[in-house]
Amino acid sequence: MTEINFTLNGKTTTVDANPVRRLAHVLRDDLGFTGTKIGCDAGDCGACTVRLDGRQLCACLVPVAQANGAEIVTVEGLSKSGKLSPLQEAFHLYGAAQCGICTPGMLMAASDLLDRNRSPSEEEVFDALGGVLCRCTGYRKIVDAILHIGNTADANIIDPAVGEAVGARAAKLDGEQKVTGTELYGADQAPEDALWLRAVRSPFWRATFSLGDFEPLKAKYPGLVDILTADDVPGLNGFGIYPDVKDQPVFADGFVRYRGEAVIALVGDAETISEIRDDELPISWQEQDPVQGFGPPLAEEAPQLHNDYPGNILAHGATFKGDIDCGFDESTTIFEESFSTGFVEHGYIEPEAGWARRVGDRIEVTVTTQSPYMDRDEVAIIMGLAPEDVRIIPTACGGGFGGKLDQTVQPLVAIAAWKLNRPVRCTFNRLESMAATTKRHPSRITARYACSDDGKLQAYEFNGDFNTGAYVSWGLTVKDRVPIHATGPYYVPNVSAKSRAFFANETPAGAFRGFGVPQAAIAHDALMDMMAEKTGIDPLEFRHINAIRKGQETATGQKLESAGLDQCLEALRDDWHAWRAEAEAHNATNKTRRRGVGVGCMWYGCGNTSIANPSTMHIGLTADGTVTLYSGAQDIGQGTNTTMMQAAADGLGIALDQLNLVCGDTDLTADAGKSSASRQAYVSGNAVKLAGEDLRGQILRLANVGENATIEFGTGTLTVREGETSREIDLSSLPKSENGEVLRGEGYFDPPTEPLDKNGQGKPYGTYGFAAQIADVEVDVQLGTVKVLRIAAAHDVGQAINPQQVEGQIHGGVAQGLGLALMEEYIPGRTENLHDYLMPTIGDIPDIKTYIIEDPEPTGPWGAKGIGEPALCATAPAIFGGIYQATGVRVTQAPCTPDRLRAAILSNKA
């Protein structure tokens, strides 16, 4: 150990540390400055950016020894005397922080820039922030914030009047803690005496193994407290998101199905468990040939992954409508094409992290998650406990996108803490986060679309294979959701859409923003372009002709009551024609750098498919006049902490700032379901509205006044006014419930769905979100590189509860869609870090123009529908359409990397 002295945020600081330790770890673990986040430990994400002697540096790349004598500033040093700095204020008001995990790094990089350059250009902002990755915002609001420092007015943030919270551009209620670095995420909190846990993972894609004697290891490392194996699982050694499918073991039991699968766990002090090398462990492996890719797992005689699934087939899904043979026979224009996509990594900057403690005969898990109640039920099964004996306390979530729905650290720390009766914490490093956790399903799709001479769609045939990897995870959802959405958001009289999900010895594929719909959209919209060209109809107008309208039936026979795609396309029409013309003019004189503008459309059913997925919300009032929303709707950056409060305020009819929020703790909140499937605004929004209305009704009855009365809370009092009359209620006079409340409103909403029959007919979702996006791209035809110059996105969200949050979702979705289109492909075993796996940086995301379309959904709260997933699905098809106009190449494989596009351009010429 070496004594190291530096100035930290202006204060002289001394630490005694191993000089080679990363500064980021010392700041967080030794000094408690957890505002500095760790996303990769490799300088790839910039989350740990601090300033050292004025310069921005990744604190994960600095040996603490080099900090000796230096002046260090972290995010905690930005605000002075409790007041946000102008930079922080701009980030807050302009919506630059969504999940907030990259925010400290962004702020530090920006502060470095601003100290050198008070009025930077957009390009200079890009250069300065190019080393920090953000996965939520699409960067545009970050750039906006920096370019608008000191200008709070243009953010257009309003403090809504009573009854006007829904639809208001209200500031993010948890925004300040994200810009000050005080927000606590999964890795930011655990008791001081917590032990650390590290999972040991399979180095093989398929192998059997046996465990030897661990005593010599324990003797060698006194800091090693315990080694957990499959034998230590108190309940069922299996988890999985469906109630009847628990196929994935917490610890593999003698057989591993993918590289990265947890085999054992080491529990001890931090230094010891990181010091032990995997090759010191008494594990003897017998490697087997894995079955991988799209061919081998489906081959006859292929080795099986699971006994219960012959032929490695997980399941088939299908939607049949009309008579496709007839539809194709009667059509004059028919195109068929095959498409493929790869694994895609969620790339949240916060790795999986959490801790657990045993409290008597209960277990408490504090964890970053998208689904507290599902975690509770999964952990209960694994622990052999009743669900009520498991408490999940969600931390702030540093991005999820579907990747924090499955079990990761939860069972590991729960088992360890239970067995050892000591708090145990675990934080995945980036490599294991990428190797062990779920991805987007790779797909192989063959599809055939037909239309008549006037451009009306007649028939669609779709066959899609989806690789679900080693375990089921969300494979069943993908195989169900894809055929329902396969046609795209168009009215098609005759449909046959079939899907198949299969196993392979690869990283499990699970939920990722869209559940197979983005893959299907690449197929249907490429075919739409081909039919448009053949029929001589403009691609946007071709979609407008076929856009499914209110009152029309989907492929599952569901009659839509809200369908705003036609309006989305109308909103884009002027941009579309202007941009197309500009591109053509540009191309007339440019042979090397070619421009093109494409359009993509999508739809997305909000909520889980054809199953109950209710949400229950409570609003409680205590005798001192405190009103609190108890929301189980986990905010994963998308802003539900704010939007649920807006809905509660209007449901109840009070000012937004009179409400308090308790979010997520399973002991305190009811089950609101998962923050996935674009369901919280629609499902939980309804539950909150009903809870507000319920409480309001109770109050009005108590005061014996009518519907139009206003409610105001004072300290210990409640004032109800109706016209000239005003009535004050002494809250202390009301009887108190067990939890100290005098009144409690409850709201419950389950989307109106019906099961699908054997032909896939029924009502799988309560409502659908719609979108159209256009992308203007420039292709360097000699290099095969694509630069997206601008995007316009029109989204039908029914009703924007908070327009700023909706824009943020659109921006972030576009960025992920751009990544899917152009650069993102997770290759198991090869791209398990954030420099080989490429996600868009700040310099890759163009200006994004947003149009919010509100075609109200009758069953939605104030008409609202979801936006989370819709934001992503239309982007890749739009970009691919642009590439076609620019080059004549029809992209059929995502991502369209420079080498693939260049090869296609060359073979197109030949």
Partner: protein, 279 residues
Amino acid sequence: MTLYLQPKSIDEAVKALSENSLFVLAGGTDYYPARVGKPLDEDILDITGIADLRGVTENNDHFHIGALTHWTDIIETELPDYFDGLKLAAREIGGVQIQNAGTIAGNICNASPAADGIPPLLSLNADIVLASTRGEHSMPLAKFIMGNRKTRCASDEIVTGFRIPKPAHPATSTFLKLGARKYLVISIVMVAAVIENDNGNIGAVRIAVGSCSAAAKRLHMLERALAGQAITAGIGDLVTEGHLNQLSPINDVRGSADYRRDVALTLVRRALEELVASA
């Protein structure tokens, strides 16, 4: 507990290296990424305390770039046009955090085939200067880098800097990098080029291509073909596929070998045209 030595002078550093087997650490931008989730258990020689090793100095017939010169230092130091290619490369390395920490010698000693610093230094005809208790010596950079992650740096040596000879004629240089995203990207191909202008003709030209062989390579055949040619637009047309024969690109996640060969040709042509246009 492992050793962590922080010498203040070159003498101290080489003495320590002669006595122990030590890992030489400077900016840490390659050391830490290779050890995610792994123990940090090497004995370390942290040379960042040697002030003499940082910065660019001009001498009679050459410039000297100290080993610990950060990429940001290269960007911010006023240097003749001859260094424009190196400055462009400096801006393309990682993000600003990496440019602020990463050192020029670290980039070279890590000897990645995709090291952005190597082609510009090759195009500048750089010699690398090494020191040990046995004394100081230098060698051409091309000789120093033996292949993928392999150099001629002996275990008791440190790199002290780079010696860049001044060009015989007024010279311009450039650097083109191809990657699949804007920042923080490992190069698929990069090209550095220098043209020395001898009264409108090419007095000398040096072109180096990275990420297309185990170590970045100068295109000597092409350089000979271009020598003496007039500096005019269309010079790129003189470059043929055959001039790139000495490259031996591989297939990897970033691109196929065929693609690399193809775009290397384009980038070499573009680099030359760019230099001609600015001359």
